[in-house]
């Protein structure tokens, strides 16, 4: 039975609130109902339904688009945890379709091929909440200003290489720290540079963190990678190719969940990291030409 008649739905509290409930958890990319069940069984807090995981998108090339609605519905029917799905940057119609499918969150994602090279969606216009990627503070605040109720640092999706993810979360933290204690004049200048309202900068600096939940994404392949992300201040982690491209997906998924909870406890990390077999192969960053880096998408 739906919400009571006089209740207010799709408020900022309900949109940003769902992200708060996902904190300390792992959101896993899945491409079919069977994988979604493995993810739920491992303790994922949500799944991201998509047709190909980022490493396959990278390998196959071509244009990557929103997934087939039937596939998303199949995954929704298979699990009881939240189901997220990706729309192309700026693709209003894909996002409206996903909203009509009643997905729990839309990821306006650089992993798909952008539909608009100038504008991201006005996410305030939607009832469904959005998560967006960022690689620095300005990008994060622009997305939040457009209505994103959750952020994720981008990393470099599909590489199994954590180095970009580390760079991005550290950049966000350092840029916030650098504004701490600065004059109003300096904050106003920073807001202008970042093309966001001064009030949003002020709020962020006062809180000492982004004003919405912020996960780390892009390159997490092992339990230790997840723990490192938490160590650097992540509220939780997205794992894409890292699970179903590993030798033992179910065991790797469960181990990454444990590592995200017990990120401070090295003895537990040692225990859950053992016996997972080979992780996904991974790509060294310097072998990826600048033009093929997914994290560069977004404006």
């Amino acid at each position: 039975m739906p919400a009571p008649k006089r209740a207010k739905t799709s408020t900022w509290a309900t949109k940003s609130g769902l992200a708060q409930m996902l904190k300390g958890g792992v959101i896993m990319d899945v491409v079919n109902p069977a994988e979604a069940k493995i993810a739920e069984e491992a303790g994922a807090v949500a799944v991201m339904a998509l047709e190909r995981v980022p490493s396959d998108i990278r390998r196959d090339g071509g244009v990557a688009r929103m997934s087939d609605p039937d596939m998303i519905k199949g995954i929704q029917a298979a699990v009881s945890i939240p189901v997220m799905a990706k729309a192309r940057i700026g693709h209003e119609s894909e996002a409206r379709i996903l909203e009509a499918l009643d997905v729990d969150y839309i990821d306006e994602s650089e992993v798909l091929t952008p539909a608009d090279d100038r504008y991201h969606l006005n996410k305030h216009d939607f009832k469904v909440p959005f998560v967006c990627g960022c690689k620095d503070l300005g990008e994060a605040l622009r997305r939040i200003n457009e209505g994103a109720a959750m952020m994720r640092t981008k990393g470099e999706a599909g590489t199994g290489n954590i180095v970009e993810a580390v760079r991005h979360i550290r950049t966000v933290s350092e840029e916030i720290a650098a504004l701490k204690g600065q004059s109003e004049k300096r904050l106003r200048a920073a807001a202008k540079e970042m093309r966001v309202p001064y009030e949003l900068v002020k709020l962020t600096v006062k809180a000492g963190r982004l004003p919405v939940v912020n996960f780390v994404a892009g390159g997490i392949a092992t339990p230790a990678d997840a723990a490192l992300s938490m160590w650097l201040g992540a509220d939780g982690v997205f794992v894409g190719s890292g699970i179903f491209k590993a030798k033992k997906p179910a065991k790797t998924a469960a181990a990454i969940v444990q590592a995200t909870t017990h990120w401070k406890n090295a003895a537990i990390l040692a225990e859950v990291s053992a016996g997972l077999g080979e992780a996904m192969k991974g790509i060294e960053m310097r072998t990826i030409p600048e033009g093929e880096r997914l994290s560069k998408r977004g404006w």
Binding site: A7, G17, M21, K23, P82, D102, T261
Partner: protein
């Protein structure tokens, strides 16, 4: 040392009446609960392993994904020590996913986890995220001397209490009569999130009960 007896007495008494409240921190919005407790001048302690429960005199089971929390509770053998804590008379507050963990019955198949609150709950009872909502409701036991009070409540993919057993009592309902909070002695399960609206009444209740339980 020149310490007056009354001052020394105060120190002991103070240590006695300031309870430490554990907050289950395996997953979910535990930080918001700890912030609420701190705003009331009470220490909130993250609980991830059984040893973290030593010395706590009350517990919060936060919002989060109950399927994930359930697995982490079992994996780290937290079920027994939490039940033992309840048996010793410590109050336990479960919000949303936390209320699901407390229930004696979960509709549509899932095994109960802690079975400390005599209710049947249905997960995601209102639907998916687009049916998450905010509303005001009347909750018993929050006003002066335990009277009812109207509060603002946020429900996120929330459960509903579909049946209240003989040992428990409904303490909050929606305008359409659906039950969203129930209490059994010092165990309180609610389907919404006072920790994200800044409604302190529920946490005040928890701290008062923990203090009373300490004697």
């Amino acid at each position: 040392m020149n310490v007056s007896p009354s001052a020394a007495g105060n120190t002991v008494a103070k240590r006695h009446i300031a309870p430490i409240i554990g907050v289950l921190a395996v997953q979910g919005d535990f930080a918001e609960h700890i912030r609420m407790l701190e705003s009331l001048g009470v220490e909130g302690r993250e609980v991830r392993l059984p040893a973290d429960l030593d010395g706590v005199s009350g517990l919060v089971l936060p919002g989060g994904e109950s399927t994930a929390m359930r697995k982490l509770l079992h994996r780290w053998d937290l079920v027994k020590p939490i039940k033992a804590l309840a048996k010793r008379g410590a109050p336990i507050l479960g919000t949303c996913a936390g209320a699901i963990l407390l229930a004696t019955k979960i509709a549509d198949g899932d095994e109960p986890v802690l079975s400390l609150l005599d209710v049947e709950v249905r997960r995601n009872a209102f639907g998916r995220q687009l049916e998450s909502f905010e509303t005001s409701l009347v909750m018993e036991g929050l006003g002066n001397e335990g009277r009812s009070r109207t509060i603002q409540a946020v429900f996120i993919r929330a459960p509903e209490i579909v049946k209240v057993g003989p040992s428990a009592r409904a303490v909050a309902t929606l305008e359409d009569g659906r039950i969203v909070a129930a209490r059994q002695g010092r165990i309180l399960g609610i389907a919404f999130h006072p920790e994200i609206t800044g409604e302190t009444g529920v946490h005040r209740w928890l701290v008062a009960e923990a203090t009373a339980a300490l004697g």
